[in-house]
Each structure stands twice: as C-alpha cells, then as structure tokens.
C-alpha cells in the first residue's frame, strides 16, 4: 500500500511539473512567513501546564513557518511548527484534463499522567503503616474508614480500617503523547478520446503513533491494587478508491471499488493472571484451592490486555441516473455491496481464548457483509413545486458465535463446600450451581432495514422555500436477548438467548422554512419530530422500583425486570439561524437549537439547548470589532440502578 502511495504521488508530481514547465507564467504569487515562539522553558516540564494548556496547542519555544505559492495551474500551501505540527497541500489542474490534489497533515497531541484518585482522598500517601501491621506501603491512595491508628511519612493519625487501595504507575516520567498523520491524494483524469468519461482515484492514510496511559486488571489483586502503564499506539487506516464515471446528456453511470483497512501494529500488553483460589480454602490434601475448570483462564495462560482487531473492508458501489423524463424528473438508483473481515492478529496469541478452561467457542473472526439498494425519483410538476420520493433497503449479515460451556461436577470441584450451610437456599455452592449450556449468539448488527422518504418543496414568491416531509425506518434484528428464565434453574434451557427484539420503527415528519424577506435579512428554520415504536431496548436491564435483594450475583442479575434503553421514543428538534445586516458596517448573526428526547418505558428524558450570537462592527475604515457568544446546555435525568458487591 505504501508503494502505491509513493508511486501515485511521484507520478502525479512528474505530471504536474511537466505541465507546469510548459505553462506560460512561472512567476508565482503568494507569501512566506517565519515566526519564532518564546516561553519559559520550565513551563514545559510542568505536567499540569502541558496537559491543561498544551493538549492541543504548542505554545512552547520553537519556530513556525508558512508558505503559499500560486502559479496558474499549481497551488501549494505549507505550514511547519517544529517537528510537531505541519501540513502541506498541493493542487494541480492541467487544463481540466487531469486534476490532482495531495496533502500531508501532522498533529501532535499531549497527554498527561493521571492518578486514579481525586486529590485529597485520602491524606495518606507514602510509607503508610497500619497499627499492629508489619507492612509498610509506599503507594496507598485510599483506605477503609475505621478506628485504627496509622503512621505515614507525613505523620500519624487514627481513623483507618484494614482495607487499603494501592496505585502503581509503571511508567513514571514517560511522555504520553499521540502523533496523528494524515496523507490524502486524489485525482481525476478526463479521457480525451471519450468525452464524458472520467477515471478517478482517492487514497487516504491515517496514522496514529505514540503512547497513552492504560489501566489493566491482571488478577485478583486488581480490585485493590491499580496499575497503569504506557500502552504503545501504532495503528493505521488506509482507504483506496478506484472508479470511473460516465456523464451523458440524459444519463450517467458511476462505479467504484473501495478497499479499507485498519491495523493495530502495537504489541499489546501481555501478562499471566494470578492464580485463582477458591474462597473456602481447605486442607491441601483435598486441593480445594482451584476452581477446577470453572474459570476461563488460569495462571498458565498468557493473556493480552487492551487489544483491537484488525479490520478489512471491500466495497463495490454502482450508481445510475436518468434525466429527461416527464415533469423534469430525475431517477437515481444505486447498489452497494461490502464484505468485512475483522480478525485478531495470531501473534497476539488469541488462539488461547478459544481453548482451555471448560468452554469452546466456535468462531474466532467476524466476517459480516452489507448490501444496500436505493431508488429515488425527483420531479417538478409545477414551476415552483418539487417532489422527491426515496426508498432504501439494506441488510447486514454475519455468522453467529456458538459457545459451549461444559458441565462441572460441583461436589468434585469443591469438596470442602459440601455440608456447609451457606447460602441457605443452595448450601455448599456459594456461587450457585455451575452453569453449563450452549448458546448461539447472533451478531448484534445483523438486521434488515427498510427506509422510505417523501418530501415536497415549494418556492413562495421567490423569497421563501417551504419543505415538508415524512420518513419511515423499520429495523428488523436477527439477534436475540436473554429470556425470562432463571439461569440457576436446573431445567435452564440450552439456549438462553431466545427472546426476539421487536421491530424498531421510526416515523418522522419535518418542516424546513428558509427565506430572505428583506435584502439585509435571511433566516433558516427547521422542525423535526421522530417517534420510535419499540426503540432498541433490553427487557431485563434494571431492578424494579423499591426492589431490594441480598443475594448472589447471578440471582441479582435475574432480579432485573425493568426495561433499559439509551434510545429515545420521542425526539423533537428545532433549529433557527438568522443573518442580519441592519446598517452597512454592522453584521449580526444568530443560531439556536433545541432538542428534547424522552423514553417513557426506560423512564428518562434529555434536553439540549445551544444558542450563539456574533457581531462584526466596522466603526471606522481603520477600526473593526468582533464579538461572539455561545451557550450550550445538556440535561439528562434517568433512573440509576447501582449494584453494590460486598465481598
């Protein structure tokens, strides 16, 4: 892929300059500027200053330069700020026979180190020693409230309990940052011997490189001992588009092929998890310390944290339009087919994830495909009336994941538990009976979608445009959610995910009203209402009102009986913007947006208000002022269900 980029840029530059050398004028217009930036170098060593004020802006000492060159057919623009930020844009137009654009853009983004506890919680930091304890910890960030005395490097006190939380930064002093580089090039070639035929290409590459802070849980200590380390960032996305376009008087045709990939080249964090112990430890002769295959991984499995799969997408797109029909109609049709592959790098050892323990997973990689068909008709039966009707269908399909959990003999696995009377409803098995079942998990994006749109647009007195419309979207999902049965029931079926999602149907109406009633005033107003019947929701998301349950985790999960959804049933959106020039040297602008959404079943609502105004006033020919104000408010009210694990 890199070869293609360099080759295309190289060939394009040769073509550009060969045309350019023959151009009549080689004297450019433009500008060159060089600036130096100075600040106190100590500021750069301050983590607060860098992360609070230097996250997006490079204010530290250095230099920057700009250049703009404008030849007849060649335009170049460049900027450089040390080695951190720079861009270069090149445009070339060879008498419209060949048009080329190329750009490189780099941005540097600084991250700080985050300590995972708010300042002031608690006071103890280094050298924490609890009364009567031989242990001294240097990295305590929180402690249980209690009545014990403690000493730290800062002094002694009372009020501590036995449980402590520790934090270790494994990369102290590491410069966390991200460097983003974008390469883009595109070209259009008009075939001179075949008028109306254009060949085109488009290539984009997006690279991210650097380090960022990452938390990970390496084993049983993780709940009270938090680690962070520098996770390498090294990923790239490539998009290549190749196609042709035929434009005739009454019809047109376009086809292109698009290849897109995402690859994460950074080696992920690997670790061996801690050895897992059963909470009821007994004599070693009975060896009750292990979970006997009730865990997915043990201390012998090398695991990987914070990983991303590589993704490859292959797309074919065909578009066709026909003009010259009655009532100035235009018919547009298109077809899209995509094949996607999402897979983990074998080097990361993901084969471990499908074997060992007491379960099997049938599929490693994800290979969904997507296809869509669109047809649209736009007509103008009257001079000032336009009608548009559109229909679109698309489908996403993928293989399922089949997971098998094998049965475990609880008496053999946990012999020490036999005879114990806890919990009372299931003595001897503190975590309930071991679950074993096979379930088929459908790909969650698997769906068939139909969309219909009808819109009317009317021009009123040449000053106003009124548009009215209706849209409908119906989503039929293949994936299923967990049914209402108790997973601890011995008759629990082999297929727990059997409950279908209802179709999600959204009906929308909209009104747009734009106009210019006076020479110095223009406005744009729009209103849209969406009503969704059965938005995407999870039937067993939350506890009932007033519910209380003290039980094992599995039972508590079963106690969830209320609907949860992050999608709205009703959504109202209103926008208004105004441009007003009351006098010659004063320009006023206003924009506003109000959105209200609610979902009665899931019992939440939200509103968003956004208002902005700006003013530009030229007091004299020499003195100009500008003033702007923006306000943004988002308010969400929702039930919170807080699970509390008291272990």
């Amino acid at each position: 892929m890199k070869k293609f980029v360099f080759l295309s840029i190289f060939l394009s530059l040769i073509l550009s300059f060969s045309f350019f050398a023959r151009a009549e004028s080689i004297k450019p217009t433009g500008s060159v500027s060089i600036f130096g930036i100075y600040t106190d170098e100590n500021d750069r060593l301050d983590n607060d200053k860098m992360s609070a004020l230097g996250e997006y802006e490079e204010w530290w000492s250095g230099g920057e330069g700009n250049i703009k060159l404008d030849f007849d057919s060649l335009k170049f623009e460049g900027y450089v700020r040390d080695d951190y930020d720079w861009f270069a844009n090149l445009k070339f137009d060879a008498k419209r026979m060949f048009q080329f654009k190329g750009s490189v853009n780099r941005m540097f983004h600084y991250f700080g180190h985050e300590i995972p506890f708010p300042e002031g919680y608690p006071d103890y930091t280094d050298g924490f020693q609890l009364q009567g304890s031989p242990w001294v910890y240097n990295d305590v960030i929180a402690n249980q409230a209690g009545s014990k005395s403690y000493t730290t490097s800062a002094g002694s006190g009372t009020g501590a309990g036995g449980k402590i939380v520790r934090y270790t930064d494994l990369n102290v002093g590491k410069n966390y940052h991200i460097r983003i580089t974008k390469y883009a090039t595109s070209g259009i070639f008009h075939v001179p011997t075949l008028p109306g035929l254009k060949l085109f290409y488009d290539f984009n590459r997006y690279e991210k490189f650097g380090y960022r802070q990452m938390y990970y849980m390496g084993g049983k200590c993780a709940t009270c001992h938090i680690y962070t380390y520098g996770r390498r960032i090294n990923d790239r996305t490539n998009t290549l588009k190749l196609g042709l376009r035929i434009t005739r008087k009454l019809w047109g045709l376009e086809y292109y092929y698009e290849y897109k990939d995402f690859e994460d080249k950074a080696k992920p964090r690997s670790f061996y998890p801690d050895e897992v112990h059963h909470p009821v430890k007994g004599p070693s002769a009975l060896d009750p310390s292990k979970f006997y295959g009730e865990i997915f991984y043990n201390e012998n499995n090398l695991l990987y944290a914070n990983t991303s799969p590589d993704v490859y997408k292959y797309t074919h797109v065909a578009k066709f339009y026909l003009k010259g029909l009655p009532f100035y109609s235009k018919l547009v049709a298109s077809y899209v087919y995509s094949n996607i592959k999402s897979e983990y790098d074998d080097d990361a050892g993901y084969e471990l994830m499908s074997s060992g323990g007491n379960f099997d997973k049938e599929r490693e990689n994800l290979s969904p495909y997507f296809y869509a068909f669109l047809i649209s008709l736009t007509s103008r039966p009257l001079d000032n009336l336009t009608i548009n009707a559109k229909y679109r269908y698309y489908s996403i399909d993928a293989d399922n994941v089949d997971i098998t959990l094998y049965p475990v003999n609880a008496t053999t696995a946990w012999p020490v538990c036999a005879g114990r009377n806890y919990p009372s409803w299931n003595p001897g098995y503190p975590y309930g009976n071991p679950a074993h079942y096979t379930y088929k998990s459908d790909y969650v994006l698997d769906r068939d979608v139909n969309e219909v749109k009808l819109a009317l647009s009317y021009i009123l007195k040449s000053k106003y445009v009124v548009s009215l419309g209706w849209e409908m979207e119906n989503i039929n999902r293949s994936s299923k959610q967990m049914n209402s049965q108790n997973p601890l029931d011995p008759n629990f079926p082999d297929v727990p995910y059997t409950k279908n999602y209802k179709d999600t149907t959204t009906n929308s109406v909209f009104l747009n009203f734009n106009g210019k009633p006076f020479k110095n005033l223009s406005f744009r107003f729009s209103f849209r209402y969406d009503y969704t019947d059965d938005p995407f929701e999870f039937k067993k998301a939350k506890c009932p009102v007033g519910a209380s349950v003290n039980a094992t985790y599995d039972v508590w999960q079963y106690y969830r009986k209320l609907i949860g959804s992050a999608d709205p049933e009703d959504s109202y959106t209103t926008r208004l913007s105004l441009d007003f020039t009351p006098i010659k040297n004063l320009i006023l602008g206003f924009n506003g947006k109000y959105i209200y959404q609610d979902n009665d079943d899931a019992d939440w609502d939200k509103y968003i208000i956004s208002v902005g105004a700006n003013l530009t006033y030229q007091l004299t020919k020499r003195l100009t002022f500008n003033l702007g104000y923006e306000y943004y408010d988002i308010d969400t009210e929702t039930p919170a269900v807080v699970p509390i694990f008291d272990g």
């Binding site: 500027s33 106190d40 708010p118 929180a142 519910a547 003290n550």
Partner: protein, 133 residues
C-alpha cells in the same frame, strides 16, 4: 434495603439522577490600522464549563461504609474557567514586507476536577516576518 450482607453478595439501589452540562464561550477582538504602516490587534477568549451530577441515594451501602468518605459525584462534578488574551502589532517595513509581534497569556483554572487540580497559566511571545509577493 438497609445494608449489604457481606460475604460476596450483591445489593442494588435505585434512585433518579440528573446530570447537567453547561458551557459559556465568549470571544472578542479588534483590529486597528493606526497608520498606513502600523496595525494593532487583540483578541480575548473565555470559556466557563461545568457539569453537575446529582449523587444517587445509595441506601444499600452500610453506614459508615468502607468508602463513606468517597462521594462518587466528585468524579462527575466538574468546573473550569479558561481564558486567553493576546495582543500585538504589525508594522509594514515595505509594501510587501511586514514584521509582527504578539504576546499571549493563557490561564486554566479548575474549581472542580476529575482527578487532579490542574491550575496552570503560561505566557508566550510570537514574533516574525511575512513577505507577500
């Protein structure tokens, strides 16, 4: 629910919570051509941003509980003010050659923060030359 029983069990508590984010942004600037050669310019930018999160009533937690000091809303109650003021002058040495100098003061002040209070301010000066052709 009064409290959780311990021993690896789970309790749940339900309450309504509200989260609100408000942002105000103001910017202002001027450009004054004092003479044919000398131009003064300046701009100011101010942001006030805050998020208020109503802590749910966690009736199921024992009181005092191990984390009784610990208010989860502290993580989501955020407030900061940031402003930048800059001013400078440009002088045309020739019709197509301009020198420019600009000083900027930036201040970031966190009243309520996620993890650490990152109050910070910097001053930096930018100076250079621009040639039009």
């Amino acid at each position: 629910m009064e409290d959780t029983p311990g021993g690896g069990t789970v309790g749940c508590s339900k309450d309504r919570v509200e989260d609100e984010i408000e942002v105000h942004v103001v910017n202002a600037g001027f450009n004054f051509a004092v003479t044919k050669r000398l131009t003064l310019f300046g701009d100011a930018y101010y942001v006030h941003s805050e998020e208020d999160y109503d802590r749910p009533y966690l009736g199921s937690i024992k009181s005092p509980n191990p984390w009784s000091e610990f208010d989860v809303s502290d993580y989501s109650d955020l407030e900061f003010d940031e402003y930048r003021i800059s001013g400078g002058l440009a002088y045309n040495l020739k019709e197509n050659l301009t020198v420019q100098i600009k000083a900027t003061y930036a201040d970031f002040d966190e009243d309520e923060y996620y993890m650490q209070d990152r109050d910070a301010d910097v001053v930096y000066v930018t100076a250079g030359v621009k040639w039009n052709f």
